[in-house]
Symmetry: C2
Subunit: 346 residues, 2 copies
């Protein structure tokens, strides 16, 4: 019989999670108080700034329980936070997990979600040091606070892009959004979960190690992850740096799988690239002469594509798409907005 | 016309919150990146440990929107976290706010909730440095991560109580629980919101400054706030310290208002004292010879009652209630458990 959260209660569940984290997780020497007291406590490293981010995923909004395994859900929820730390050039250290659960949630599922968290933290030697469990009104939510560190003065912000800078992007933004659309449009197809883009949607990659490597070069003028979609996040850079951008459409990294999926969905693959997605790639800006140094640093870190897709201009807030024929189209950053559905591209 | 979250969208709301926090909040010099980047960043102080806690309150579970003003809701949500930092002997520094909102939530209400947060942070010079906004499935939730600091080695844990230690408690635990019951049992009474105990329920106090003062004496062997109820939290101390406790019923601080409310509710005022409540008082254990030092430190900090209610014993996990006639009753720590309703006292 499935063991439910209501069978073992809040404190029973906390004990089980505590045991799992102690057994399967990493315990940092700098953590002075872990799970089980009024707060967690740790000793920061001298010479480092601390980075803090929180991100919440809600059942039915950010994920569809019928399509994602609990382990992947945990990875996904932690991955978006790891990505944010990486997009500052930092390294994840400690996570706090706030869960909103239904009484009928299975204990095994909660444990699997935690295994997903630990899987994402392990490569960084990062650990879970605290959290909170509550009964949610309707639908589960997972809210994670992730603390990281970066060498003092080395954090890369959104606000440093300058006219003339090159715009680089990692990987293939848009694949995850296409994966989600495949899931939603072909729910009857039992093989759909095995489609490469659906797998990318369910276990999104992040580029945290790449971000850390880029920050170490000291060459990036701005850095952001594409959590609000490529155009949305380029828009954040432009807004906060007081600059504009020109994008070269023919240079966009759009792979064969995305082209095929777009055909199947009767959609434009470039819309997937520009719009909301869950790829958690990085947008990097830097001076033209620094591009080789960044490429070289990234290639030594991991085999990820880095593509030059445009340049920063002095026209604050204006983003143009340059088509192969020479046409120049103004585009508007939209990005994921939970509340204003009417403004969304899709 | 009321402005709704759906009218200005996620990014519009973030801008409004950012403006409010900049205008009405405190900006710490050690914060190197505030709201609006991938993460917040700050420089920790040398010689200090960092404390981190998170606590979530959910509409309909932890508060009743029809009975609480948005400002008080913000104070309440922040207060529970401030209390946790204080219960380690620390001082709050930085908050991250994760909000789950309904599209129809009024923008003004969100701003008032933030004013409530800032009101609770101001006495400590603490600030809001980041957060996240998402659309909730059903019912709002407010999840706060609060970071604090404590001088290295001065944090007071739950695990240090020793046989022979005195058990002290601040204030009047149980008043808040009685206030909630008055609200629930007499919803038709329009004057009920003005009842002193209902006011205590709606704007719970915390003893964070007292906790910090106690930690500075170095005399407390264990410290905890009563967020799981007096007995629940004394149970946590006993469990983590491997000890037991004896409580002197006639010494419990039960005020006239609680006695009257209990009469009105046909309840036992001692059940309110021992059970789940939202008072966020402190339970302190210390050696008998250190009681005067703790009393003196607390009285120099603020005018709060400190009552000796029992002593720690060597019988691990056993808690007894000593009645005036000499009877000795075993009692079981229950405390607030969100999932196992059947085990709750009330």
């Amino acid at each position: 019989m499935t063991e439910r959260v209501s069978d073992i209660g809040e404190f029973g569940l906390i004990r089980r999670i505590d045991e799992l984290v102690n057994r399967e997780g990493i315990r940092s020497e700098r953590v002075t108080v872990g799970i089980g007291d009024d707060t967690a406590a740790f000793l920061p490293r001298p010479g480092y700034e601390l980075l803090v981010t929180c991100d919440c995923i809600v059942e039915g909004r950010h994920y569809l329980p019928e399509y994602i395994r609990p382990l992947d859900l945990g990875r996904r929820a932690m991955g978006v936070n790891v990505s944010d730390i990486g997009a500052m050039g930092g390294k994840p250290l400690y996570a706090l997990i706030s869960l909103g659960l239904k009484a009928e949630t299975s204990v095994q599922d909660v444990e699997e979600i935690y295994r997903g968290f630990l899987l994402e933290l392990a490569p960084f030697g990062a650990s879970i040091i605290g959290g909170n469990i509550t009964k949610s009104g309707n639908g589960m939510f997972i809210d994670i606070t992730l603390i990281g560190e970066v060498e003092q003065g080395k954090a890369v912000r959104r606000s440093g892009a300058r006219p003339g800078d090159i715009i680089l992007v990692t990987g293939y933004p848009g694949q995850s959004a296409a994966g989600l659309q495949l899931l939603l449009h072909e729910p009857g197809d039992s093989k759909i979960k095995e489609h490469p883009l659906v797998k990318i949607y369910n276990t999104p990659s992040h580029r945290a190690q790449v971000g850390e490597t880029i920050a170490e070069t000291g060459c990036a003028s701005a850095l952001i992850d594409t959590s609000d979609g490529f155009l949305g996040d380029l828009g954040h850079i432009c807004e906060q740096s007081g600059v504009g951008a020109e994008l070269f459409k023919e240079k966009f990294p759009i792979g064969e799988q995305l082209r095929e999926a777009a055909l199947r969905l009767r959609a434009d693959p470039y819309d997937f690239f520009l719009g909301d997605s869950d790829d958690y790639e990085l947008i990097i800006t830097c001076r033209p002469q620094d591009v080789p140094r960044i490429r070289s640093a990234v290639s030594q870190c991991c085999p990820v594509l880095v593509t030059e897709v445009g340049r920063i201009t002095g026209k604050a807030g204006e983003i143009f798409l340059l088509l192969p024929g020479g046409t120049k189209l103004p585009v508007k950053p939209s990005g994921w907005d939970h509340f204003r559905k009417s403004e969304r591209k899709k």
